[in-house]
Symmetry: C2
Subunit: 256 residues, 2 copies
């Protein structure tokens, strides 16, 4: 058996998330394993991703441990993958790895970004890559809220129950909101937008999207900073917001 | 009957082009007419688009004359359309129009843009919105070629036979190539890329994509500027290049 650490970039729009499912191959892991089976001409392949991105979520740097019964130069594996993967999934890095490497538990930190605009229009051209909202928000208050997320907290009010987890405590190292405006053609296509960026020790199911939804409610005056403090200090089991849509979310980087 | 001039913005990736087809509603016109039938509660609707964008081609400003047996404020029509159209098709403008307005024959000029990068990698995140190539090209020579396209020419060597047309002569008012590089998050996502921009009296079937393919062959040294001059001055019926892929093409503006 050979082990590799690879990095995938993908557009999640057409897929039902990272995790493979028995009745569809329309998942990122499903497509990756299909390609690996063809490359290795074997069914004895195994993959572990750093995290299970949801349906519609994108990645710039999803880290995956790949196990195949075939020895290849890492660059040959990368090229073989890119000739077998669909155009919206791409291998951007490949190296040899140890059997002991675990992309989930060995991660030191992960960074997610979420793109949204507030200038009030749907935008057909970028609907699959950012969320367009139509109400003005108090950005300064949202920035104060970002500060409150930083540190170690019990995020029990910021996750959706899924697989078993031993703890809902996570550490947020950095959390911020900034405005971006493009020039040129992409400026015509992409409206002026905000990027919410969060770096943490790890993230619970739908945690980033619940943080974004909460920020929006704070920006709209529906939730107060005091409510957020309370939820982070003594979780009640009640959510402060709905889950933000998946189209604006990107898993950007996982460090080891 | 009421007549409207509307402008549509759409991402063409999921559609088999503008023109409605009998056996699928996966065309832009098919989706528009489906929405109009629901809005007007009638089958007596009629639409004419300014041009038939191909499968996978996008639009920032496709102009359409809409005829429905229902009188609405133009803004109400816009809102009704946007609540019935899929997320990747959007009405961005609506006004009353005359029955005599013909979006095809009344057009004074049209502008298309084509996005491509030359930095050698597939890019899963933008594969639906630009073409990524992996060979260096002589950009200065391609800019000289752009100049040659300007003016009135018989574009018989730059079109794909389709519906009947009375002439293959068209006038190109402007044609240029420029480099764009983004900052920030979109800079991480979109590689540095070139934009080919062409404004003309009208365009034949696949004409822009054949112009782009020819430019690439000139940039690669496979076609000489003299060959392009010849093709524009005395068409031979032979093409100088294959049709460039549809994913990088945008119908940007139609003026009346």
């Amino acid at each position: 058996m050979s082990f590799y650490k690879i990095i995938l970039r993908y557009k999640g729009t057409q897929y039902q998330g990272w995790q493979k499912q028995p009745h569809t191959s329309q998942t990122i892991q499903g497509q990756l394993e299909k390609a690996l089976k063809k490359i290795s001409k074997s069914d004895e392949i195994h993959t572990i991703g750093s995290g299970r991105t949801d349906s519609g979520v994108h990645a710039l740097g999803q880290v995956v441990r790949v196990q195949i019964p075939l020895e290849l130069e890492p660059l040959s594996l990368l090229k073989a993958l890119n000739s077998h993967l669909p155009n919206d999934i791409e291998c951007i890095h490949s190296e040899n790895s140890s059997e002991l490497f675990n992309p989930v538990f060995d991660a030191k930190d992960k960074t997610y970004k979420y793109l949204f605009s507030l200038n009030g229009r749907r935008n057909a051209l970028v609907d699959d890559s950012m969320t367009c909202l139509d109400r003005p928000m108090d950005i300064e208050k949202m920035r104060e809220a970002c500060e409150l997320f930083i540190g170690e907290h019990d995020f029990a009010d910021f996750y959706t129950v899924g697989t078993d987890i031993s703890s809902t405590v996570r550490v947020i190292y950095d959390c911020k909101l900034h405005l971006e405006k493009q020039q040129g053609f992409l400026g015509e296509v992409y409206p002026e937008h905000y990027i919410f960026e969060v770096k943490g020790s790890g993230f619970l199911k739908q945690m980033v999207r619940l943080m974004v939804g909460t920020l929006w409610n704070i920006g709209l005056g529906k939730v107060e900073l005091a409510d957020l403090k309370m939820a982070l200090n003594s979780p009640s089991g009640a959510k402060l917001a709905a889950v933000a849509p998946s189209n604006g979310l990107y898993l950007c980087e996982v460090n080891y």
